[in-house]
Amino acid sequence: MKRFVWRWLAVNSLLMLALAAPGETRPQYGGTLRVTMRAAPTSLDPAENAQSDSFARRNLTLLIFDTMVATDDSGRARGALAASWQASPTNQRWQFHLRRGVNFHDGTALTSEVAAASLRAGNPTWNVSVDGDSVVIERDIADPEMLGELALPRNAITKRNSEGNPSGTGPFHIVDWQPGKKLTLAAEESYWRGRPFLDGIEIEMGRSFRDQMTALELGRADWVEIAPEQAHRVSLDTRRLANSAPMELLALLFTRDVQTPEEKSLREALAWSVERGSIRSVLLQGAGQPAGGVLPSWMSGYGFIFSTNADLARARHAREQVRTIPTWTVGYDSGDAVARLLAERVALNGRDAGLVLQPTSASTADLRLVRIPLASADPWIALAGVASVAGAPVAKNDGGSVEDLYAAEQAMLATQRIIPLFHLPVTYAASASLNNWTPRPDGSWNLADAWLGNGKP
């Protein structure tokens, strides 16, 4: 009887083991990760503001550079180059104590002078000084969002050499840089957080979504971007797809403030006419979430309070307050495959309400269909970022509550500079050999912790 039990157990165990997939769970060192991206940045300098913000650019920055402070998935501040900090009771003066023993990729030590100079260059309105091994930032007004600000990639600490080339303290250093085309990175052996598992990363830029997908399918790339609306078509095992939280705002942006009460009524009519539900189903193929507010609900906790339903009766009522209907041009990015379709659909919805809208790919337009990457998972910083892009008053957090945040968002929407349409995630796909690659909710990569299963340790 006992022998029978052992045999039964052995047969079952072997059957179970035969069916088991490889179960290694400990990360492996080695290998070169091949990444493709649509963006084609021409500078790697975090503080260079001539280029538009994008998730790709932010992520490139954080491969090479570090920030003083980082945020975790819940948006809480964690020490990075700053080991600790203190704020004055009014949040006007912040003192950051630098971590010891951190070196730039050129071998020089991180000092408070270098960190202060880097922050000063990127934030001319800040009063940045040095106090021993700490950096002191003073503001004219209370700045409770200072930690979130310092966690932004654009505030990464940079040291520039005599030729103006930036050097960082990040997990990877630059081996080869062909602006706008290709970037080759190698693991920094003495990185203060521990050497990355990967030996290196090769990043090809300026590749269309279609090219990227082909590269992944042919085994020529390990990590690619996917257009959210294309995600459902990807003939991949869905376990190799990953989304960020909805971190991109798709919106209509008017290029000027409301000039007259009639214009106010027409903008209201347009806002009520857009059928977000059907646009999401048809054009976005179910991706993203209809947006009535600027901030996604996961970030604010109250986004659902803004209506996203079209109300043609209200739209027509608002439009009927105006005798002469102007023709508005709706600009879109001609390089964005879905943007033209979206602009045309918005024009069609507007026409149902009696408005006249003309889609155009020209650079000047009365309003534009834009994608705004939310700057941070911190709702106050994200709101301020959108306000900056929209030319609306910048909301400032005076240490306020969620109700203050709601009031600030309402105030921005009341300017009628912006009509939120959708919140979209950032979507990536990875090859089967890449592990621990899931992007964080804010869309940032964590490639220092990613590893290749077939890497050679």
């Binding site: 157990l9 997939a21 490889p22 179960g23 290694e24 400990r26 906790g301 909710p441 912790d449």
Partner: protein, 452 residues
């Protein structure tokens, strides 16, 4: 009233519960078995909802004034039904106390829709209030979200029992139980920068001392380390490229030095050149098992052993690079199992090296118990092998010959296993997992329970 609990050591929560159970039920043999049930109550009491309920009620009544309202409460958050029901009842009571009466919509002066929502840091409760013709107002409150907690879940047959020891936000590399009666009373917790000593006092862990680890080079990623209690001093600490020993006299400090010396693969009491392994293994006759000493070199800037062994297994002084090892003493030899970095398990008996794809994870270790065949190998594995974000589980196996036989159900963890080491007493192991939900590290003692 219920208190919010954040980042407390698991034992701090459990100890009073277990003590109370022991007091109330003197015949109770396994108080931890009841802890899972008690844990449900602890979880339910983990957050104080009373304050936000009162704040929201006051804000609502400030808009509506006392009177008849139609109230709807919706759950848009990750709160479970139990918490939702508690909050809904609490809100109704509180609103009732401030002068609102609940009626149907057609009889109401106002309709109030309360949504229980959340953002990454807070629960956000939003009240959307509509009065009269088109008058509407929105009021809201927020309250901090507690760190998530996961109840332990045990399974039966030859069962592997999981006992919480410690949890913290910083990575836990190893935990050593230094003193214990019926349960641990003094522990050491190794993290990347220090060893923290705690002792149990008044049913709660009190920090006794912190011993800083001096190291000049940055640690490798996926840092690993071992705490090994010593006979003539408190403990030794093994980290990649660094070895520390506690002083043998007070004050207790750690003396650390750069060293690539090999790490002991098995922990026990030195006994004339051999090792009395697992001296307190709970054997019926109290005997210990003697096996040859074995050490392995750890790659100083990586997360694996190089494969070089000293003195070696029979003719093998090197094996493939590996993450972890387990031993199974036989009558005339010792079978060693190595979890190689290529995902295979190597079975080395001194004469042959047999590689097998067992689908196991990278962590394995062995325990000597009074159960089953006497020796079990504990191995980690992904709960969902196809998902690289899978949680891990640990299961016990025996090796009647060269094929593993599962002898326990898998015990699940809330994330990947980051450490699995046999304890010095030999009949149990320390498992550390990173909780994917909370991000914190949780250390458990794993012990076999016979005949269940």
């Amino acid at each position: 009233m219920c208190q919010a609990v954040y980042n407390s050591a698991i034992s701090i929560i459990l100890k009073p519960v277990i003590s109370a159970l022991r007091g109330a039920l003197p015949g109770l043999r396994h108080p931890y078995l009841l802890v899972a049930l008690v844990g449900l109550a602890v979880t339910a009491c983990a957050t104080d909802w009373n304050t936000p309920e009162q704040h929201l009620a006051r804000k609502i009544v400030a808009v509506t004034g006392p009177g008849a309202v139609a109230l709807t409460v919706e759950n848009r958050s990750s709160l479970g039904k139990r918490d939702f029901d508690i909050i809904q009842n609490g809100l109704r009571s509180t609103l009732d106390a401030v002068g609102l009466r609940f009626v149907k919509a057609d009889q109401a002066a106002a309709t109030v829709t309360i949504s229980l929502s959340e953002n990454p840091t807070s629960y956000v409760w939003v009240a959307d209030i509509h009065q009269g013709a088109g008058e509407s107002a929105v009021v809201m409150v927020s309250t901090a979200r507690p760190e998530g907690s996961t109840a332990a879940r045990d399974s039966v047959p030859l069962s592997l029992r999981k006992t919480p020891l410690w949890t913290q936000e910083d990575p836990i590399l190893d935990v050593a139980v230094l003193e214990e009666g019926s349960s641990p009373t003094r522990i050491a917790v190794l993290d990347p920068e220090k060893v923290s000593l705690y002792h149990m006092q008044g049913g709660a862990w009190q920090q006794e001392q912190v011993l800083t680890i001096a190291h000049s080079r940055p640690w490798s990623r996926d840092l690993r380390g071992r705490l090994i209690p010593a006979r003539d001093h408190l403990l030794d600490v093994y980290l990649p490229g660094v070895i520390c020993s506690s002083a043998s006299a007070l004050p207790l400090i750690l003396n650390c030095r750069q060293s690539d010396d090999p790490w002991p693969l098995i922990v026990g009491t030195l006994n004339g050149g051999s090792l009395s392994v697992f001296p307190s293994a709970g054997l019926a006759n109290g005997a210990s098992t003697v096996v040859p000493q074995m050490k392995a070199f750890f790659a100083p800037r990586r997360n694996f052993f190089t494969g070089a062994l000293t003195p070696g297994v029979g003719k093998f002084t090197t094996v493939p690079k590996f993450y972890s090892a387990a031993l199974l003493p036989r009558d005339k030899y010792t079978l060693w199992l190595f979890a190689a970095v290529d995902g295979q398990t190597h079975l080395v008996d001194g004469v042959s090296d047999q590689a097998a794809k067992l689908g196991w994870g990278s962590e394995l270790t062995s325990v000597k118990t009074a159960c089953g065949a006497g020796w079990q190998v504990l191995s980690s594995a992904a709960v969902r092998p196809e998902d690289d974000q899978s949680e891990d589980s640990v299961r016990a196996y025996e090796f009647p010959d060269r094929d593993p036989v599962a002898v326990s159900a898998a015990v699940d963890f809330a994330g990947p296993i980051t450490a699995l080491w046999t304890e010095a007493r030999g009949d149990s192991a320390i498992a550390v997992a990173r909780n994917r939900e909370t991000g914190s590290y949780e250390a458990f003692r794993l012990a076999m329970a016979c005949g269940q």
